[in-house]
Amino acid sequence: MEEDKLKKDKLIIAKKKFVSRLIVGTGKYKSMSECAKAIKISGAEIVTVAVRRVNILNKNKPLLMDYIDPKKITYLPNTAGCFNSKDALRTLRLAREIGGWKLVKLEVLGDKTNLFPDMIETLKTTEVLAKEGFKVMVYCNDDPLMAKRLENSGADAIMPLAAPIGSGLGILNKINIQIIRNQTKLPVIIDAGLGQASDATIAMELGCDGVLVNTAIAKAKKPFEMALAFKNAVVAGRQSYNSGRISKTVMGNPSSPTEGII
């Protein structure tokens, strides 16, 4: 009964509906089969993928598409490694050409050390992509003003970082994430920086619409167990958010009746 309710509570991105609110990355796994199995366990319906040169020297190298069927799982091509608008546009136009992908993840990085996004290039690129008919999910910093400007530039989802990519630090600025969540009608998806399952629960309890996780699953000692932990954590966080938490108080309030004490 309650689980049926959750199935109806769908994540909607650019008019497409998804039951799972967990998006997973496909990088950093030991093998493609490990990656495919982790995705299956996570229940994710969207996975991020990178666009790279085909290895022309090794013709028999396994292809991602042979392990993860793009007809069953939505591929979300990214622009990882792009440090300017030109490269990001080139990458996503190529991604679209591979097979009609229009739903994309834009990330334009500005700093090689902390991998923070260059928001000026990001805004510029979002505008161009939206005009070209792309549905753009945008990796951004946790600045509410920038998030607002992204929305005005035609983004389809706002994806603020929790912490630097791959850092595992969890959500560093909960207040900003909440402000970003409350000021927009677009889906807000926490992208980057989560370290453990409870971080995902916190993101969902803040009201976020989903989370994107790669390193925390792929680099866990037991990726399959962590994939399941994240799946459950996202569900738990969403249910908790939908349930309406009690208000906080500094006073104690007994859970058992005070009347009839012997």
Binding site: G27, T48, I56, L64, Y75, N78, L94, I98
Partner: protein, 69 residues
């Protein structure tokens, strides 16, 4: 037959001067449906690869999806 040098994914390759792009793709065993192709920084329509003649110093990029976050 005369040969020409082209660049494919950053590597120099020598092909016959009357080669078409489709010959190169066949030769490299490229799964057309799973890639995108750029010729001199312009995306080309994969279906038209047998109409495109390769020229000296052409730069070709063939990309596909790999694991990423």
């Amino acid at each position: 037959m005369k040969k020409i040098k082209i660049k494919v994914n950053g590597k120099i390759k020598t092909v016959l001067s009357n080669s078409k792009l489709s010959d190169l793709l066949n030769n490299l065993n490229i799964p057309i449906k799973k890639v995108a192709i750029e010729l001199n920084e312009e995306i080309i329509d994969k279906k038209r690869s047998n109409n495109i003649k390769l020229k000296k110093n052409d730069k070709i990029e063939i990309v596909h999806f790999i694991g990423g976050g």
